[in-house]
């Protein structure tokens, strides 16, 4: 339970590879079980659904796409639904290949590539600093390969359209290094006949301009509280959860702040913990680590001393050891502090230092320094 939220990305990835099991509906999280599989089943933001539909009408000239939006807003779901509408349900027949790459310095790299007959999917953060090599080798290999025109045979399913391209989904495209993005530029243009890129990212700021200018940008907003609650009602109905008071669903939706995935996970664990029956008094389950961070924030404000800093350090190490990414810690901590502080000057100072240390966190490579630095700084600021 502890780790289910921050690991949901990891879980998702594992589950993505297990689509088959999901399709049969056995042993999967509700998040995956009730993930819309076609464009028609998508719920929120009809504007976007309409856009995707008009793209899928004429799949021959599908542009490169760049989905951006907050976590859990449904980027991946929409992207897969789009592919489904173009290629048919074959896109959900996934398999994993292990590919080997050799860096110029002769180091061997192994990378898991998830692929279906129509697309393949890579996650750059799996390969760390060597993502450029992978982009160059893997994508050029795919790009230079002409798709054999076998769709005419199975034309019934895809509407007889022969699509000669393969789609490449790049998850977390914002974590691609500059080099790798630069490597993508010409590949995108040159082989646009054989390959289409669909990139998913949370923040567009770290995408280089040439990539942005080559893609159709698709903004994926998070569902509103109402939309989240509606989705919960729907799932609850199918899973036979008794909801005595709909207000609890709104509470869940609000606490998750537009992250539908988190909302569904919370909903599922709450339902399971309370024998499938939710009352308005049912306690909201929060991830342990969020509670830990909240407590830490309170301690920072109450006891501003060296000994308190030492205690915080222990907590931080504990969080990091549980694989909570430092960037998540600093964000949660900053917003927790912000909620607890009432002096305007202090608020401004907290946000300012959060922004400074967040940047340092990205540039440096030992998170504990920056997290501690942030805490120490906040203590000083609050002390005046």
């Amino acid at each position: 339970m502890t780790s289910i939220f921050y690991k949901d990305e990891v879980l998702l990835r594992e589950f993505n590879t297990n689509w088959k099991a999901q399709l049969t509906g056995k042993m999967s999280l509700w998040v995956d079980k009730y993930r819309p599989k076609s464009l028609d089943a998508l719920t929120h933001t009809p504007r976007l659904t309409h856009l995707l539909k008009s793209l899928s009408v004429e799949p021959r000239d599908l542009p490169h796409l760049l989905f951006y939006g907050p976590n859990g807003a449904g980027k991946k779901t929409r992207c897969m639904a789009l592919l489904q509408s173009i290629f048919g349900s074959g896109v959900y027949k996934l398999k994993i290949d292990v590919r080997q790459f050799t860096t110029p310095s002769n180091r061997k790299l192994e990378l898991n590539v998830v692929s279906s007959p129509y697309h393949l999917e890579i996650t750059p953060s799996d390969m760390g600093n060597n993502d450029r090599i992978v982009i160059q080798e893997l994508l050029k290999e795919v790009a230079q390969m002409e798709q054999v025109d076998f769709q005419t045979a199975s034309g019934a399913e895809t509407g007889g359209l022969a699509h000669r391209y393969k789609c490449v989904i790049i998850n977390e495209a914002d974590s691609l290094t500059r080099d790798a993005q630069a490597a993508l530029r010409r590949t995108m243009e040159k082989y646009s006949r054989n390959i289409r890129f669909i990139m998913l990212c949370e923040s567009m700021s770290s995408m280089i301009a040439p990539i942005k200018s080559r893609c159709l940008l698709v903004r994926t907003p998070a569902p509103t509280t109402q939309e989240t609650a509606d989705a919960l009602v729907k799932v609850g109905g199918q899973e036979k959860v008794t909801v005595e008071d709909e207000a609890i669903l709104n509470t869940i939706a609000e606490s998750c702040d537009g992250n539908l995935r988190k909302a569904l996970l919370t909903f599922e664990s709450m339902a399971l913990n309370n024998e499938m029956c939710l009352k308005s008094s049912t306690a909201l389950i929060r991830a342990d680590w969020v509670v830990v961070i909240l407590k830490m924030a309170n301690r920072i404000l109450k006891d501003r001393s060296v000994s308190s800093l030492v205690e915080c350090r222990a907590t931080l190490y504990d969080l990091l050891a549980h694989c909570i990414p430092a960037k998540v810690i600093i964000q949660e901590l900053a917003f927790a502090l912000l909620d607890a502080i009432h002096n305007d000057n202090h608020k401004i100072a907290v946000v300012q230092w959060a922004s400074v240390f967040d940047e340092r966190l990205r540039l440096g490579n030992k998170p504990i320094y920056h997290l501690e630095g942030f805490i120490a700084r906040v203590m000083c600021e609050v002390d005046g």
Binding site: P63, P70, S203
Partner: protein, 356 residues
């Protein structure tokens, strides 16, 4: 040997051009085929046209922002110099998607550079100038390592009797000085609106698009001199409206696809900042992040707003610019959009509080 693989690739690619026009992005379809078609880069084009007559060509360094026609220019030039048949053996194009470490410079580039020039066929000689040198195009040269660049230095000089280099980059500062001084530099400036407009109009006419009156201007405004982005945007919008009745492109569709924040939302944020109430600012920023607006474009448009507005004093604009610059640099370093945006908004509000 290594260059052989390259040619094989080229051939495979040049073949689909005949029948695959419909699935091609317009940026490729309307890439200028002749030097004359290159829009608005008169300086570079004039110089290059002279080389077409005199058959002498210096090493070249093209630099300028994306979408201004650097790659198009050199490709058009080589096409006019050699014609399609000879191009395969005379031109080597390498870009950032090819491995370009020091090893490649030493092997692939050097071995291509020192080849003697092949003899053009009778047919080619009549139609094209076919000057007696080869051209190596290093696209996106600013992503080459400094080591690889310095390995190029002697190669460029040694084989200058048979080979010319053309380096293309966005940032001329990333090219090491010794290389830059060996090349004649051409700066490609962002397209001015009238030239870009005529090009976009041409594309729209060719594709028989229907559009509202000021849509093309709007597209160019959004793409800020990047013609590729403008044409890309035009194609995407046309695709969206294709199945509507009538297929009319409106300013709204453009806004939606370009990822720019609508003016109303931006004005709301500015108004909230002006009240200097931190709680409401916090809520507003969170809403913006939740609806997925990109932090970079919010910052960009805030900048646009504050600098162009008349109601602020110079001192305020100065301070605001500093804050925006700071936020932008942090965002580019990949830090959290929510925190950065909130920081920017609160700092701006702080300026109001201090009564500037």
């Amino acid at each position: 040997m290594s260059s052989e693989g390259f040619f094989a690739k080229r051939q495979k690619l040049s073949q689909p051009e005949n029948h695959g026009d419909d699935s091609k992005p317009w940026v490729e379809k309307y890439r200028p085929k002749k030097l004359e078609d290159v829009t608005a880069q008169d300086h570079a084009v004039n110089v290059l046209k002279k080389t077409l007559q005199s058959a002498n060509l210096p090493h070249m360094l093209f630099y300028g922002p994306p979408g201004t026609g650097k790659t198009s220019t050199i490709l058009a030039l080589t096409k006019e110099l050699y014609g399609p048949a000879l191009m395969k053996s005379r031109v080597l194009e390498l870009n950032a998607s090819d491995e370009r470490g020091i090893a490649i410079v030493r092997d692939k580039i050097k071995s291509f550079a020192r080849l003697t020039v092949s003899k053009p066929s009778q047919n080619d000689r009549e139609k094209y100038p076919c000057p007696p040198y080869k051209i190596i195009i290093l696209d996106e040269a600013d992503s080459m390592t400094a080591d690889a660049q310095s390995a190029l230095r002697r190669t460029m000089e040694n084989y200058s009797n048979v080979t010319r280099f053309c380096l293309i980059c966005n940032y001329v500062t990333r090219i090491i000085d010794p290389l830059a001084s060996r090349c004649s530099k051409f700066r490609f400036k962002p397209l001015d609106s009238s030239n870009a407009l005529s090009r976009v109009q041409y594309v729209a006419k060719e594709e028989r698009l229907q559009y509202d009156e000021h849509v093309l201007e709007k597209i160019l405004d959004v793409s800020q001199g990047d013609l590729r982005r403008a044409i890309m945007l035009l194609q995407s919008t046309s695709k969206i409206v294709k199945h509507l009745d009538p297929p009319q492109i409106t300013a709204l569709t453009v806004d939606e696809l370009a990822g720019t924040v609508p003016t109303e939302l931006l004005n709301e944020l500015v108004a909230k900042i002006a009240t200097a109430n931190l709680e409401t600012i916090k809520i507003n920023v969170r809403e913006m992040i939740k609806s997925g607006w990109s932090g970079a474009s919010v910052v960009n448009q805030l900048h646009h707003y504050y600098i162009n507005s008349d109601q602020y004093s110079t001192a305020f604009k100065n301070k605001a610019s500093w804050l925006i610059f700071d936020a932008d640099s942090k965002l580019t370093n990949g830090s959290n959009e929510h925190i950065q945006l909130l920081n920017l908004a609160m700092k701006l509000a702080d300026l109001y509080r201090k009564g500037l």
